[in-house]
Symmetry: C2
Subunit: 500 residues, 2 copies
């Protein structure tokens, strides 16, 4: 009773705030374009609690083959549409987590169904080439249409890879190779280089390092893992490298109210970065590259200012270290620009930019000088998958055709406004609403409450994910419109009221 009253009050306040006129608790925003409705449902629809009985049955089956501890539920992808994920028990949820932020334009987008039904694309699906030695005829064209068409400023070169971890591993290798080539004055490697590397010894396998940040996440293979510092469960029991780890700025929100304090905090972190670079050089393990996410995602959606990133790049340059921006989670349009680092407004922002997830293929862009001097240095059997480039090419067409980056900015504003409102309404429960585009997050008072919110929201048809110690991260697809924002806010308000 109390909760439904609050919900109605909240809906009214939202309408006032957003200047929307439709009355009632669940309304269709006037801004919602028709094109969306063609392949989207009109709201969540729940038949069982989640996971339902069919999910439980399948979980038992799969449990004979794999660890199923992380499985939320089993999905009916055939019936899923747009922003809605349907499970095997017939529950339909508004998906604001999108497979750990990896679905760019929703489920079963009609243009993708059409593309993959086209018989002329069949060969790309059936014959996976070893791209590094025998690429298909249309490979340069598809690369140009897809990844090259959205290349970050200053970069014309891109190497595809199979996943995010492989992308970062190979980006690190490219930085090590670049660094050692500089050290050798671009001369041929010595006999000692060649013979020592075979047995893992220096100088062939040099004592170089990558500087990373506390709270960062860059993947789970062993090179990446040495730069990942978000959760113990990722790293426990795996041998690592003695590489420098700098503090990431711990900012106070709302950012505009704490400019001075935040600037001080960022200056402190930059100073520490420079100290570490000097210290590790003295240790005989020079920093070949600095890696950072534009927004620390897995680590709790931690932001820093453009000034911080500019300062960081300058420090990297000053000390001859490469600057690698990891856009695996932030890239692909969800911040309202194709790359989150474009918000920095820098002309020459980075040396290397890695990606995966919403780009459907892994890989990394790099400046010319980071191309390995010889073939077979950055190499593996598949080097990506042309069938993913094919789909990405069409995804980018859809983003342009449907002006999805504009939509993201519009939805993002509505989402942030709503989160700030809710935060004012539940001050003991919510804090630190933050975000760029729809790449938003909010903190919950404690981990237990966070998890109760996630489960209750799911049972009401809203799929969300956590990050950091006690944050909820919002990672909708690019087709998440204002209409969906309001739908979400209404239900989220119900959840908060219920758990208050």
């Amino acid at each position: 009773m109390a909760s439904s009253l609050i919900s109605r009050q909240f809906a009214l306040s939202l309408q006032k705030n957003l200047h929307l006129s439709a009355p009632g608790c669940r309304y269709v925003s006037k801004a919602a374009p028709k094109t969306q409705l063609e392949f989207d449902y009109d709201g969540p629809s729940m038949k069982t609690s989640v996971p339902g009985p069919r999910s439980e049955e399948l979980r038992k089956q799969l449990g004979h083959i794999q660890n199923v501890g992380a499985i939320n539920f089993f999905c009916n992808y055939e019936e899923s549409r747009g922003n809605y994920l349907v499970d095997v028990d017939g529950n339909r949820m508004l998906d604001i987590y999108t497979q750990i932020s990896s679905i760019p334009i929703g489920y079963n987008h009609p243009d993708l169904l059409k593309l993959l039904s086209d018989p002329s694309n069949l060969s790309t699906l059936v014959n996976r080439p070893a791209l590094g030695i025998l690429p298909p005829e249309n490979f340069p064209e598809k690369l140009t249409e897809s990844l090259v068409s959205v290349a970050p400023s200053g970069m014309t070169r891109v190497q595809t890879m199979a996943c995010g971890s492989c992308s970062n591993e190979n980006a690190y290798k490219a930085m090590f190779i670049w660094y050692r080539n500089k050290e050798r004055g671009h001369n041929t490697p010595s006999e000692e280089d060649l013979s020592s590397c075979i047995i893992n010894q220096s100088p062939g396998c040099p004592e170089l390092s990558i500087l990373s940040f506390m709270g960062g996440f860059h993947g789970r293979t062993m090179g990446c893992l040495a730069t990942t510092h978000s959760k113990a469960i990722h790293k426990l029991d795996v041998p690592s490298f003695d590489w420098p780890i700098a503090p990431f700025p711990s900012l106070q929100y709302p950012l505009e109210e704490f400019t001075r304090e935040n600037a001080q905090e960022e200056a402190r972190c930059l100073e520490e970065v420079e100290d570490l670079i000097v210290k590790w050089r003295q240790k005989g393990k020079p920093v070949a590259g600095v890696v950072i996410e534009p927004i620390q995602a897995e680590g709790g959606d931690n932001h820093a200012s453009s000034d911080f990133f500019r300062g960081l790049r300058d420090i990297a340059r000053k000390h001859g270290c490469a600057f690698h921006v990891d856009e695996v989670q932030t890239g692909g349009g969800t911040t309202g620009k194709m790359w989150a680092h474009e918000h920095w407004g820098m002309e020459d922002p980075a040396d290397i930019v890695s990606f995966s997830k919403k780009l459907l293929t892994g890989g990394f862009y790099h400046k010319d000088e980071f191309q390995a001097d010889e073939p077979y240095r950055i190499f593996n059997t598949w080097m990506g998958d042309p069938s993913k480039n094919l789909v990405l090419s069409e995804v980018l067409n859809v983003i342009r055709r449907e002006n999805l980056l504009e939509e993201v900015n519009r939805s993002g504003k509505a989402l942030m406004t709503g989160l700030v409102e809710l935060q004012a309404q539940y001050p003991g429960m919510l804090s630190r609403a933050r975000g760029v585009g729809t790449f938003c997050a909010i903190d919950i008072c404690d981990d237990g409450t966070r998890n109760r919110i996630l489960i209750t929201a799911r049972d009401k048809g809203i799929l969300l994910g956590g990050c950091g110690d006690r944050s909820i991260r919002f990672r909708p697809a690019l087709v998440f419109k204002e209409y969906h924002v309001h739908l979400f806010l209404n239900i989220f308000n119900d959840v908060l009221a219920q758990l208050k």
Copy 2:
């Protein structure tokens, strides 16, 4: 003139040897089944030298985006069929390298075209899930039909991954986790474990190691790379771990003529393995696992006996190390059994078996005790790709339906007989013909001649690959029949005669 004479003599000797009656240089073996011809060409057809002008043009285009130094030529996958790869200049080559050994049943197999044209599979191609949290309904069924149906002896559990390197990286992590859990007596990790691992320090990130072999290849990400010791170009300039590296037996061929010498050599290597395990334990970097290929592939197709592998497994067991068999290149049927290690005839051959390439998806099988105790320890966003499991499932159906393992054994025998014959005919040029099934290799007198053979063969319509310092490796698809063997041998003989 001389070369064509030799060629004819050789063809005659082959016919005598193989008891085949069709006369002339290029004949159809009576053993060639009709089913093959439905989607195969009847021989190579060359229009230009390779790479041709269209390939050169595309290479220039792609050169603006990537390092193209390793590219052989560009392919027309639409026109490729069965054992024949067609390039963009209309050249059709008999493919005995199959995209670095990763095409299981040839190009455009009709059953795969049918499968991927089926509208009911469209959703699997369009919606890539985060398999570890939100698998599709048919995931347990497809896993059971595909990977579980060919699980190595003693293993019921399998984890999919995106590529070979990720498979081995995660297999290593599984071994480290298993080893540390044993050390902790399966108690909860300590506070110190949890806090130290975040900053790459022990005890949370322990000083454990993986023992590998000289000449081995296990991938190119940093964990894998620390166990790869085949070529300097793979490893140069990349930091590594101080892990033990044992000698791989250097056997004399033909194996049956050197049993005593080879047994001694294998005993020497096993002794060294045991010494290294003891030494690294004393160093404070205990060996958590031993990794080995059943046949060292990239390193030069180096074989060892079943006794060696049995001895190695016993040593690993004795010292509490896991035993990981890397079947990324050897797995999938090309040795005449699904897994090369099945040739050892052991009941309990391994703790972990990793795969990729011809299995179309990466991953690893493991014994129950190697399943991580908690979720999210062996984890990433995609954890493989169900569209690859779908295709693999049909590939395995084709293998069973068309008895392809039997075919491989038949073709393999013909190939080995032919190679041994050629070796007798060109003793100054060829040596050490060796192989299991069609997984064969032969040594060439020197690297330069090897490369001339590869290029000349390509211009005559035979696509081959090198391995090691001066070997040629044969890696045909499973649909490579006796007919193709004879076709290859005839042309190969021409090449050798020409370069003699």
